[in-house]
Symmetry: C2
Subunit: 333 residues, 2 copies
């Protein structure tokens, strides 16, 4: 199969091909360890709280002290960041040289005090607390009127861009709305309905790319997957903001985070991956309808190459129908 | 320095930061060899012509035979591709499932018959023939009315997406115009002038990001560089299509390809990189003004991570002012 498929979220074409017939083990980055060698001192480990900036939030054992040991999930400012919440947004323009200050907030969610536990190894208590922390931080950051968009994401493994081995996620509050998902607004304008709801309906009818579903979520490899084995977790309930996730959904999402991350690493030879949570901007006005939050797992089996950088057209050597069958099988094991 | 800069070509913000203070040796991908281990049989070597598809074009020694040894630069179809020139473009749409056949042409330009010679090692004869081959293939592909855009690019090293060690570039003729450089059209609509010409003027005035200039080209690290040490080679003459490059420009470009690729690998610890040639679509109508061809070298020192995938906002830890000074110094050595 060789075809181009339209990605309506990104408003781009994706090239889908099975010409190479690649199986998980055939990807070149597999030949390099997915985990950059980690040794020596880890600032994210329990007991090393004094070397990180003071915590922003934490779930802790009852008798433990703020900024001391005894935490279960802990959020701290990212020390190595281009963003800081100083002052207000200042934009300066001189012809085509146009800049603004790096106003924003960058946080790290450390999902376990233990080194060597991977995200997919977390017990359900930690996984639930991680999802609860995401929600709590999202809703807290949303209160700051200087922030317009909140991006939650994880970099796992060397080819996912991870720089520290101790499992953690990141949250960035941005002073502008990125245009990456502008297709959602466009689709709503053109059709008067939610693109993600429409996709859900069509994917469920088509069946072949569905990985799993429960009461609250559908898991599938989308029709126009940019990445090999790309897998989405989409809430059935039309909800714009991740921060509006309901409690039963939180629990269900925690279960899926565990199961999908485990299925990805087990079926894809311990692959690097990212997950990202797509959500509506937190801008109050002008209000633009069309968003529907969802979570996206992107395994990182190939580095992006010149053609993708030049054209924005991704080349995916694994049809999502094949990908769904691989992830589905791993899930049932 | 922590700031966001506006990339008018891509219509996106780029985050530029010197907070990490990273020197070339500090990038994590440096710790892995830039070249995937290559051993055994190479289909691109002289003498192995029978295992590749028949050549499309070649510069050859006078007494040599087509599809035999004796070539200097050789262009063949890419066997491992999602594109083929069978029939015409067929688009099919069913709700949000929208696809077209992989109509297109994918070629490989092998820049030397010798294995183990890197792009920056090419002698000037091969470098000039490579540029001449790019021009010849561009103008030939442009004649096919089914093709709308021609992308010339190189993947060098493992983190540039190279899959074969024998140095080569690639050319893809696409059945649609990618939207990646739509900012050029937008700028022309808004200002009635060419964005690239305007950038050239402002960069020359500002001076600090200029790496080099000669009669025909300006080399600089652009104000809103997405990649650390990103370096552009821009023709001074406003020319939309790469295929319209004049002979003295061809010669000058060959010299710059040699010098810039050498400066990149020598100053950046043998970095992986891509180069891409941005150019106007070959669509005859509707004609959209605003394009100006240029060549872009993108060193690949960091893999893209979750935040970049999610938002399209690149994080560049090396201010282009620093980058220009590094590349300038390497160039003068």
């Amino acid at each position: 199969m060789n075809e181009l498929r339209r990605d309506y979220v990104k408003n781009r074409w994706v090239s889908i091909s099975s010409a190479l017939g690649w199986k998980p083990k055939d990807f070149p980055t597999m030949k390099v360890s997915a985990e950059a060698g980690q040794s020596g001192f880890c600032p994210f480990c329990e007991g090393n709280e004094e070397v990180t900036p003071p915590e922003i939030a934490a779930f802790r054992k009852e008798d433990s002290q703020v900024n001391g040991p005894g935490w279960l999930v802990r959020t701290i400012p990212n020390k190595f960041t281009a963003f800081s919440m100083e002052g207000s947004l200042e934009e300066r323009k001189s012809g085509v040289f146009h800049r603004c200050n790096g106003l924003g907030k960058h946080e790290v969610v450390i999902e376990t005090p233990l080194h060597g536990i991977d995200f997919h190894d977390l017990d359900m208590e930690h996984m639930e607390m991680t999802v609860a922390m995401f929600k709590m931080r999202y809703n807290d950051l949303a209160k700051d009127e200087r922030l317009k968009y909140i991006q939650i994401y994880k970099n796992r493994g060397m080819f996912g861009g991870a720089s520290l081995g101790h499992t953690h996620s990141q949250i960035i509050g941005l002073p502008f709305v990125p245009q990456e998902n502008a297709g959602l607004i466009q689709y709503y304008k053109d059709h008067g309905e939610c693109l993600i709801c429409t996709m859900l309906k069509q994917e469920l009818e088509a069946e072949e790319r569905i990985v799993y579903q429960d009461e609250h979520f559908v898991v599938f490899c989308p029709y126009a997957s940019r990445f090999a084995y790309e897998t989405w977790i989409v809430p059935k309930r039309h909800t714009e903001h991740f921060g509006d996730i309901a409690e039963p959904e939180e629990k269900a999402l925690a279960v899926l985070c565990k199961r999908i991350s485990l299925a990805v690493v087990s079926s894809l030879n311990n692959a690097s991956y990212n997950f990202i949570i797509n959500t509506a901007p937190v801008v109050k006005s002008p209000y633009e309808p069309g968003y529907h939050w969802y979570m996206e797992f992107t395994p990182r089996l190939l580095v992006s190459h010149g053609f993708e950088i030049a054209t924005g057209v991704y080349m995916n050597p694994v049809p999502p129908e094949t990908a769904a069958s691989t992830i589905r099988e791993a899930l049932s094991e």
